[in-house]
């Protein structure tokens, strides 16, 4: 920290000569020979275009169109003269101006090659790109509910797999750029927001009373409305400049900025809507009589007395529970489901600029209720970006994001008491919700759902600041220096109180309050020096730079139990109180350089080298070196294609490089450690005294996990780029995997950190964009992408199996995909006697009890999709825009944990757990073909049964949005610049064979590398929204 401050101070001090050079030049008054007035409009919608640059050809004089698209020239030139009119996203046109007034029609550009793409530490035009980078325009996806922008990336970029996995807004998102490269280290991409490395790890703490489901995401603190552009850096050439941070891809977010010499423009954007549970897909339970009938059948099969028999039939001291047909049925889901959960979104921004200053100021408020009571998400955000020129050569920019994100949370997930699904779905339906006097009843070992939804308060508040101050000095036209200081500060506080009517707070606990507070702080200091020049046909650039970064996380959790009554809920009022505190920190020092060269716009070469030193490793193993090299060849520039008119663009790209990974493992993973806090009393009845014991085995050789990646890509444009393809093949090879290996228990430890193993990800991705129809009034565009990734663990000395509370449902093993499922394969149910028949390793088969638990009888199943992507169709007709967006996955599998817990075959007795309707398919009569075996203890003794691993392929109509731009004639009366109305519908259609509620649901079990584990998380809702956008 001190180093940063000294560094920044020195920078300012030494640059002061430049600051003092700031002088304003006097411009001579021009002599006026002609006056030209004009207007720039969109060719199709006839809407005015603000901010278009109009330049007189041959001289430097240019003006910018105002909010009505109007401009005027008073020049020394005489008419006629030629104007060059350009605007981002539109084709540049040249027009000869004969007389005033002049109307210029601009046509939306189909050619993305001129787009400016943000690359690491700079920008390039897409034409000049060597690396593989996907650009996402967030305006297409902003009507998707969910809260965070990363969720909205789904289906938009080839090679990027996004699984929102939850109907709870603002939760973490499973996002993989070109596959999973690591088992224990983080697989999340690096997020860079306005130049600041922003932590994507949750700050929500896991305590003894939290469910194991998904956690809140700090990325959801960023208002998607403030985002101008998102780039995803994928191949080695693009990511290697980020060295140790780049192995999982890099997501660069650029927020909105002002424009110099632009009058203030106000934008108001509001959306309102509601969302619903899709009832037809929700889990189906047995009724009370069905449940009782199945339980009796189990007891009959086991040769035991039937539990559901007349009440006065007493056997072995136990009374009967009544005949099956007399059992009632109760619906608990009605208390959980929030039908018509409201959502709204309000954003107001102002942007503009003077000659030396440009600014963007945005404020937003967002509220979304989840489709499960009592969960909701809201966010208030402020954004303030200013760029100030101090002189011709020196400027300062300050970018600030500030947000407050309060949430009402519920225990959606598995595990501890008080979880929503267990208290609703999982209780046998014949058991009453309330007693005859109206008292809420509790069954199994679960809470009463009405208490959880009405009385339990779990409230969190995330306060998040992301800021960056940068000083930019143009030392010459070719040489540019920049020094910046950035900070990512996130405070997350979660308070909860569980009253004495809940399991967690029941006597003798008498009320349980907990308050946890986590603060994550990242500081980044960065210097870059950039040299660009062109000599003849040789164009080249050199970048050198360094980064110092430190991240710390501190947490305090206080708990109180034994309250006087439920009116007292603060920890200070508890009779017994405990607290814990933790602190962790890591630092990273980096130096990097990049060279790029291009000859004549045809041959491109780019090389980078980065060195990273990490505090997580012991001296001698700290520094990692990450090089990359990339080349591109623009064939269209060659003579042999010059006259091939059908081919408008053809470019080959090739790259190879190495990136590193150290995220996700403990900051002190290499050290041998002892812990305290294991106190014990010295005397009978005496107070506890401090104790210590071994905590972690050392591994001084622990070092970087490295991913080498090669990429071959082709960009092809046909028919004047009406059809464009981008195709990439990549091969990522990760070695020295950072793993938390299992230690033989005889050491006294269960795990230790080590570098063990290698993973390969190979795959291809294809993106196709076409303009199907484009005439003056109608335009139809299609975007399609598809990706295939092949993942394989090439080397791993010891298989890793320690997941899911000892069910060991997942495995990482050499020769198989990471995080594969590890199940006993149920081949069939014997039609003769209803026995579940399992496959054995030696080729024989057997029943559950004869299927030995020696590990080799299980099969390993890869659940990753064979193909995934998205399909977008856009239609524009006059003022209307219609966008239809599908996402799909093919060949993925999903573990239906709800079904596993709902097909227990009667083994848990009459009041054990709900039986789902699928249990009714059990074998009952000889000759019957079914995969649900006869109800016996043996048939249901194996939980890791392949039957519950289902095909999760799906096609989802993710969103349909219709936008109408009100005609200018209407809005000019109220002096609006633009006004539009939007109607959006989400998740209208889901085609899948999956029997659970949603094939994308993923509980994760507290490990965000786990995929396809469906349990206890609400499915994706269906929602409808109405929106209004006005600028003036």
């Amino acid at each position: 920290m001190k180093n940063f401050l000294i560094g920044t101070f020195l920078t300012f001090l030494l640059l002061s000569p430049y600051l003092s050079m700031a002088q304003l030049e006097n411009e001579p008054q021009p002599h006026i020979n002609s006056v030209l007035n004009g207007q720039v409009i969109d060719q199709r919608t006839k809407q005015p275009i603000e901010g278009a640059t109009i330049q007189i050809k041959g001289i430097t004089h240019s003006v910018i169109s105002d909010k009505k698209g109007r401009f005027s020239f008073k020049t020394g030139q005489t008419l006629p003269y030629t104007l060059i009119i350009s605007y981002v996203g539109y084709d540049t046109v040249e027009v000869i101006a004969h007389q005033s007034p002049l109307v210029v029609n601009l046509k939306e550009s189909d050619n993305q090659l001129n787009d400016i793409v943000v690359v690491g530490y700079g920008t390039q035009s897409r034409r000049d790109l060597v690396g593989s980078i996907s650009t996402i325009n967030p305006s297409e996806t902003k009507t998707l509910p969910g809260g965070s922008f990363d969720q909205q990336l789904q289906g938009k970029a080839a090679g990027v797999q996004v699984n929102a996995g939850s109907g709870i807004p603002g939760q973490d998102v499973y996002i993989r750029v070109r596959g999973t490269t690591s088992i224990y280290a983080s697989n999340d991409p690096l997020y860079i927001i306005d130049g600041v490395f922003v932590s994507s790890g949750t700050l929500e703490q896991t305590t003894s009373i939290t469910a194991s489901g998904r956690k809140t995401s700090p990325i959801a603190d960023l208002n998607p409305s403030d985002i101008e552009n998102i780039e995803i850096l994928k191949d080695a050439s693009a990511v290697a400049i980020y060295g140790s941070r780049g192995a999982n891809g890099v997501v660069i977010v650029t927020t909105k900025k002002g424009t110099y010499e632009q009058r203030p423009t106000v934008e108001l954007n509001a959306h309102f809507g509601k969302s619903w549970v899709i009832k037809s897909r929700e889990w189906k339970t047995t009724t009370g009589p069905e449940h009782a009938m199945l339980i009796n059948e189990y007891y009959t099969n086991m040769g035991k007395p039937l539990p559901f028999r007349p009440v006065d039939s007493i056997i072995n001291g136990e009374a009967g529970l009544g005949n099956p047909e007399d059992q009632p049925t109760f619906d608990r889901m009605q208390y959980l489901d929030h039908q018509g959960a409201p959502l709204f979104n309000l954003n107001l921004s102002v942007r503009g600029g003077s000659k030396d200053t440009k600014y963007y100021f945005g404020g937003g408020y967002n509220y979304e209720a989840a489709i499960w009571n009592p969960i909701s998400f809201s966010r208030a955000s402020l954004k303030f970006n200013v760029d100030q020129k101090i002189s011709d050569k020196v400027s300062i920019s300050i970018y600030n994001t500030l947000s407050a994100t309060p949430r009402d949370q519920g225990n959606a997930g598995d595990g501890a008491n008080g979880t929503l699904i267990e208290s609703s779905l999982n209780i046998p339906t014949y058991l009453p919700i309330f007693s005859q006097t109206g008292e809420p009843l509790k069954w199994v070992n679960f809470d009463n759902i009405t208490y959880l939804t009405n009385h339990v308060n779990i409230k969190s508040l995330s306060l998040h600041y992301i800021g960056n101050v940068a000083l930019k000095v143009d030392i010459s036209n070719h040489l540019k220096f920049q020094s910046s200081f950035g900070a990512d500060y996130n405070s997350f506080k979660l308070d909860q109180y569980w009253g004495s009517e809940t399991n967690i707070g029941a006597p003798p606990i008498n009320g349980y309050a907990q308050s946890s507070h986590s603060q994550s702080t990242t500081f980044v200091n960065e210097q870059t020096l950039n040299y660009d020049n062109k000599i003849g046909l040789h164009k080249f650039g050199v970048l050198v730079g360094n980064t110092l970064q430190q991240s710390s996380l501190q947490t305090v959790i206080a708990s109180g139990t034994n309250f006087a009554n439920d009116s007292y809920t603060q920890i200070s009022q508890a009779a017994s109180q405990t607290a814990e505190q933790s602190w962790t920190k890591n630092t990273l020092a980096s130096f990097f350089t990049r060279l790029n060269y291009n000859y004549s716009g045809k041959y491109y070469l780019e090389a980078t080298l980065r060195a990273d030193g990490s505090s997580k490793f012991a001296t001698g193993h700290r520094w990692g070196y990450f090089p990359s090299i990339g080349a591109a060849w623009d064939l269209k520039g060659e003579n042999f294609l010059k006259y091939a008119n059908s081919i408008s663009n053809l470019k080959l790209r090739l790259s190879y490089g190495v990136a590193g990974n150290q995220g996700g493992i403990g900051d002190f993973a290499a050290q041998g450690l002892w812990t305290s806090g294991v106190g014990y009393a010295d005397n009978t009845g005496g107070a506890e005294q401090p104790g210590t014991k071994p905590y972690q085995l050392p591994n001084p050789n622990l070092t970087w996990e490295k991913t080498a990646q090669s990429n071959i890509g082709v960009d092809l444009g046909l028919l004047n780029n009406r059809v464009s393809f981008e195709i990439n093949y990549y091969n990522k090879y990760t070695s020295n995997l950072l793993v938390q290996s299992q230690a033989a228990a005889t050491t006294g430890f269960s795990t230790y950190y080590t570098n063990d193993g290698e993973i390969r990800n190979r795959g291809f991705e294809i993106a196709i964009n076409t303009v199907n129809i484009d005439n003056n009034s109608f335009k139809w565009t299609t975007g399609f992408n598809a990706s295939r990734n092949f993942n394989k663990i090439m080397k791993l000395a010891t298989p890793i199996t320690n997941f899911d509370n000892g069910r060991n449902l997942l495995i990482d093993k050499q020769g198989y995909s990471v995080y594969s499922y590890w199940v006993y394969k149920q081949l069939y149910v014997d039609p003769e006697d209803g026995t579940a028949v399992f496959q054995h390793a030696d080729g024989t088969t057997g029943s559950a009890y004869t299927t030995s638990t020696s590990t080799d009888n299980r099969v390993i199943v890869d659940i990753a999709p064979k193909l995934f992507g998205g399909l977008t169709n856009g239609f524009s007709y006059k003022g209307f825009d219609l966008n239809v967006f599908f996402t799909y996955e093919i060949g993925n599998k999903i573990w239906n944990h709800n079904r596993m817990l709902g097909e227990t075959g009667g083994t848990l007795g009459p009041s054990g757990r709900v039986l789902l309707a699928t249990q009714l398919d059990r074998w009952t009569t000889p000759g019957q073909i079914t995969d649900v075996p006869k109800l016996t203890a043996e048939n249901y003794s194996i939980q890791q049964n392949s039957r519950f691993l289902e095909d999760g392929s799906f096609l989802r109509l993710r969103s349909v949005s219709l936008n109408y731009n009100l005609p200018e004639s209407l809005i000019s009366k109220v002096n609006f610049q633009t006004a539009s109305l939007t109607f959006a519908a989400n998740n209208l259609l889901l085609l899948t064979k999956y029997s659970g509620a949603d094939p994308e649901t993923n509980d994760q079990k507290g490990n965000n590398n786990i995929q396809g584990y469906d349990y206890a998380i609400p499915p994706m809702p269906r929602s409808y929204q109405l929106g209004l956008k006005i600028t003036f």
Binding site: L10, L14, Y18, V311, L321, N417, L441, N445, D447, I475, F481, Q527, L529, T578, W583, N586, T619, R622, F668, Q671, G672, L673, S676, G679, Y680, A681, D682, T684, Q689, P690, G691, K693, P694, Y695, P698, S741, A743, A744, A745, T746, T747, G748, F749, S750, N802, N805, G806, N808, A841, Y849, T853, S854, T855, N857, T904, L908, G909, S911, R913, S941
Partner: protein, 455 residues
């Protein structure tokens, strides 16, 4: 331009000169293992940490205790996973409970090994010989108890006697010792503890009395009847400090004369076993329940007597739910050695020797009287032995006894209708994978293991 070079030069200087310091971060929540036991205070804290390891929720804090009574056949499982297979004696090598218990016991052993090997080397004038011996003696006792529990669960086990310094080699590849050598290690550790400790009374840590009480149980398991009788007598004769309290439930949740050795818990370090057995209305998770058979035994006034307090019932909407009720809150102690056991050890030892049958009956009746039951007067050795086992079943219904009694006598085979090989648990499959020198118990191997004679 010159300025820029100057700036960069200075920056590089600044960065390089402080890089090494910048990249050195030490933890605050933990301390380096370089120097862990170096004075009196650190020797004491390391010993307390070993007790806490013994009280871990996979050992005496919950899971070991549960496995010890579940497998006895008197319990029913209430949740998916959990006890499902163990209550049916469907012992699976991949059952998480076996893995957890095995790991927790070896973790305790590693802590004890640190104390045993490092405390003798401590140079601190504050650590006088009697305190030093006391600390080391307790660690020997804790290691003896740990190996005792491993052996009665799995048979001969890997004997690890030095602290672990690495995850590979060393302690991670030790092969199993024979059952005789394993028992010999327990005896040797108990002897060391006996030498180093003195006859004082402390119910939460080990003293010479604690050592003798465990040795009585060891002799019982090894069928060394005379020695078992002798050791049990030491405890029984000290009736000033160790007496049966009545009514039966008067020792629940308290530290008193009933216990010889119990483990202390607190708000910071709570037990979890209470939450597992209790119903939700009592802040429990209710993961298992007593079978109707056990409920009938405990609530029978001629069999259970005061021990009916070990279970309780809840009735709502006409449905009756029975649950275990020995532990009711998170600061309850868990009981490792109770004086009632010493009476029943001596009763069994006397019966087996066949000399003092009336003395055996007397010991048995002391325990029965405390539960509010009438004396019994059996004549034959086998009748008395049967009565002692029936007594142990109800007296220790919620302590880790029933399964181990069935296993050590071999009665499990007939009573639970299981094959002989199941008298020991399978070595956790994960450990077999990790340690190539570890051999699975016979019967649990390969694809034929549980095939022939499972229920």
């Amino acid at each position: 331009m010159k300025n820029i070079i100057y700036i960069l030069g200075l920056f590089s200087l600044l960065i390089f000169s402080s890089c090494k310091k910048f990249l050195s971060v030490e933890p605050k929540d933990y301390v380096s293992d370089a120097n862990t036991i170096f004075d009196k205070a650190s020797a004491q804290t390391a010993l307390r940490g070993t007790y806490r390891a013994l009280a871990d929720n996979s050992y005496y804090g919950e899971r070991f205790v549960e496995v010890g009574f579940w497998a006895g056949g008197d319990w029913i499982n209430k949740t998916t996973g959990g006890a499902a297979n163990i209550v049916n004696q469907n012992f699976r090598a991949d059952d998480a409970y076996f893995e957890n218990v095995w790991s927790a016991i070896y973790s305790t052993i590693n802590s004890a090994n640190n104390v045993i090997s490092k405390v003798p080397l401590v140079e601190d004038v504050g650590l006088d010989d009697s305190l030093r011996n006391n600390i080391i003696g307790q660690a020997y006792f804790l290691r003896a108890l740990s190996y005792f529990d491993l052996i009665r669960s799995w048979g001969g086990v890997p004997l690890v006697l030095v602290p672990s310094t690495s995850a590979t080699g060393g302690n991670s590849t030790v092969a199993r010792s024979s059952i005789e050598d394993s028992w010999a290690q327990v005896e040797s550790d108990l002897d060391s503890a006996f030498q180093l400790l003195s006859y004082t009374v402390n119910r939460v840590i080990a003293t010479k009395y604690t050592v003798v009480a465990l040795r009585a149980r060891l002799h019982l398991y090894k069928k060394e009847w005379a020695e078992a009788e002798k050791d049990a007598t030491v405890l029984i004769e000290n009736n000033q400090d160790y007496t049966l309290l009545s009514p039966y439930n008067s020792w629940f949740g308290q530290q008193n004369e009933e216990s010889i050795f119990e483990l202390e818990f607190s708000e910071q370090n709570p037990i979890t076993i209470y939450a597992e057995m209790q119903i939700p209305a009592n802040s429990g998770a209710y993961r298992y329940a007593p079978s109707q058979t056990l409920v009938n035994l405990l609530t029978d006034q001629t069999i259970g007597g005061g021990r009916s307090e070990l279970v309780a019932k809840n009735v709502q909407a006409g449905i009756t739910t029975w649950y275990g009720n020995l532990y009711t809150k998170k600061t309850d102690p868990t009981y490792v050695l109770r004086i009632a056991e010493q009476y029943l050890i001596r009763a069994e030892a006397r019966t087996e020797q066949g000399v003092d049958l009336s003395g055996a009956l007397k010991d048995l009746n002391v325990v029965r009287e405390r539960a509010g039951l009438k004396d019994v007067s059996y004549k034959t050795k086998s009748e008395i032995l049967q009565a002692i086992f029936d007594e142990r079943r109800v007296e220790f219904a919620l302590e880790p006894f029933r399964w181990f009694d069935l296993a050590r006598t071999g009665n499990a085979v007939s009573i639970l209708d299981i094959p002989n090989y199941k008298l020991v648990f399978p070595i956790p499959s994960t450990e077999i994978t990790l340690n190539p020198n570890l051999v699975q118990n016979p019967g649990y191997n390969g694809t034929t293991g549980e095939s022939s004679d499972s229920k």
